[in-house]
Symmetry: none
Subunit: 193 residues, 4 copies
DNA sequence: AATGAATGAGAGTTCATTCAT
DNA sequence: AATGAATGAACTCTCATTCAT
């Protein structure tokens, strides 16, 4: 009697799958609604197996956040002429907000948690600090090579950029129209249009 | 048998006290950490009594949010010459962020929840919509009476103002320095300085 | 339609009932097999209710042990002429072993745990120390009033008495015949017969 | 394709190593704290491998106990003139309690478990019965060859000896001073000094 | 209007055991 | 002979909610 063995779902990286599932859950229902049992179920495994990979829920969460932050930072790497870099940075953020709104949802959760959880605060601040420094750097270079007129308060402008993008993207519900307007006005303010 | 009724120690408005306690809790530990028992304890009553006033936790939360939104909206009512109104609006937000950071913490929680809870979404959007309309109105009147130069895209500027203030205030940790910079740059952008 | 309300099982002291139930469980299945759910079930209540009275299992256990130790100590209080006190002390132990073997079972568990749990060690040592001091005191007075001949090493004899009674009673299975023999031989050794 | 088999690092007797590790664990943390995973880890192998040698935890435990009992029995074999044998028996027990207290710790665990687990009860009773018979035999021969004066109740004295030694050694914490006193008094009682 | 007591449903976590390789 | 991965069943503990008084 030839038994048809259903092959195991080819789990090359269970850890990654679990992180991805938890990421989606957090985007969906927030930290509040995150249930290890459902994360495991989403991957098609037992809760105990989840704990085989992630000893505690807290550790799973931290890994999810690392993943999200990495995901975000990777979209900030731009190339080309400085003035173009600024434009493509904004375009990148808008695309991200459109195509991967979960990322901002998760960042929002992260931002809130960072008030209370020091281990998360580190992760979160590292990201925002990097973001702000990146923007400031782009502005500085654009001014330096003459593609943007100076003088200007680079710190203040970088702060404005980061604050307004965070306000428009992370604080839901993300309204595409508002985001478009905000970015456009930012560009105008900075002299990009 | 005449019963000696010990009068309740103070119950002019238990509901209000409970809402205030829950508000503080949410600011402190977020929705995630909100426990009816502790809210009741903070007011000095039994959990069961809390449920006498608020049949469910959800209802309590909704009332807390109404309270917070009202608190926020009340600080937006300004008077005086239009150009002054804009400046004092900004100043008011900064003062609020400094003196009552809990309010923004609660608003942050609210913003996140609004994605998932329709009954909260209404409350939340009402507030942001009003806020944006207020800013837009102030700008419009300032342009109309000549205290600000035109023409300008009022919608876009109002969006930028609201987005950047939300981004600077609600997304923790509120960094006073960043907020100052952001507001200053906003004022410059709008032509207020 | 007259509803027949089954009256609540008249719980004058739930705490006490829970301690008693846990005591029986430990005697039956040891610490190893102690399950909060079954303790609650034995009393006819929900596990959550058990936790209403005893925040943690550990606390429940400690209370059970206090109860057991108190139970044991109470049987050590004897009166009468000193020589009779010694005899009735032995008789009391034998009666206890016969009628309430659970007490020794629980004491055995306690003795083992005391190696690892400092909070239990205190309880346990207090009991054995008291026991030994009591026996020593009885011997001393009996020698002093001439009802037992001296001189003798009181400390050594008290140690022998306590050790042999513990060995005969706490280390299961309690064999009545062996206990009888041991006590008889002890009495002979001490000169009580 | 000739497979290169890396020879197992050392496996003259894995079973024995596992039993030894489990023995140490039980002495340390009792049955309550015995974890197959840690036993395996102590030997440097995987849990699954442990289950290759010992299908169930129960079986491992039984083997540990057989080991412990054998260990204990082996110290009871004495030689020489009968009166000396008794003395050296006591000395042997004292040495064991000093140098290998784990053995008594494990015996204590065993004693408690024997109440509930019939397969352990057999093992345990076999040991105590043998012990008692040994002591009785030594006394009998000593009386027979005149090195101890008779007549005496051999059964009762053997019971007293075994009970007091168990009480002094197995019931923790083993207090060397109490043990010394107890043994000395036993010897006096039996006429050995 | 207020409470002590009670509970159902579920949370995260643990562990001996199994199985494919 | 050995293992990484997986699991079922169970555990303690939590919490919003209810109910008799």
């Amino acid at each position: 009697m030839p038994e048809e063995k259903i092959p195991p779902p080819l789990a090359p990286d269970r850890r990654q799958a679990l992180v991805a599932a938890a990421y989606r859950q957090i985007a969906d229902v927030g930290f509040e609604g995150l249930r290890t049992r459902e994360v495991a179920a989403a991957v098609g495994i037992n809760v105990a197996t989840l704990h085989y990979y992630f000893p505690t829920k807290e550790i799973l969460i931290r890994d999810v956040l690392k993943h999200a932050m990495e995901r975000f930072r990777s979209t900030m790497r731009v190339t080309g002429p400085t003035i173009e870099q600024l434009r493509s940075h904004f375009a990148g953020i808008r695309r991200l907000a459109r195509e991967e709104p979960e990322l901002f949802a998760v960042m929002g959760e992260l931002a809130l948690r960072s008030t209370r959880d020091p281990s998360i605060r580190g992760l979160y601040q590292a990201t925002t600090t990097t973001w702000r420094a990146t923007v400031r750097g782009l502005l500085a270079r654009a001014v330096a090579d003459g593609s943007l007129s100076g003088p200007r308060n680079l710190d203040a402008q970088a702060s404005l950029v980061v604050a307004s993008l965070m306000g428009a993207c992370m604080v839901p519900p993300i309204q595409p129209e508002r985001l478009r307007e905000t970015v456009a006005e930012l560009e105008r303010t900075l002299g990009l249009r």
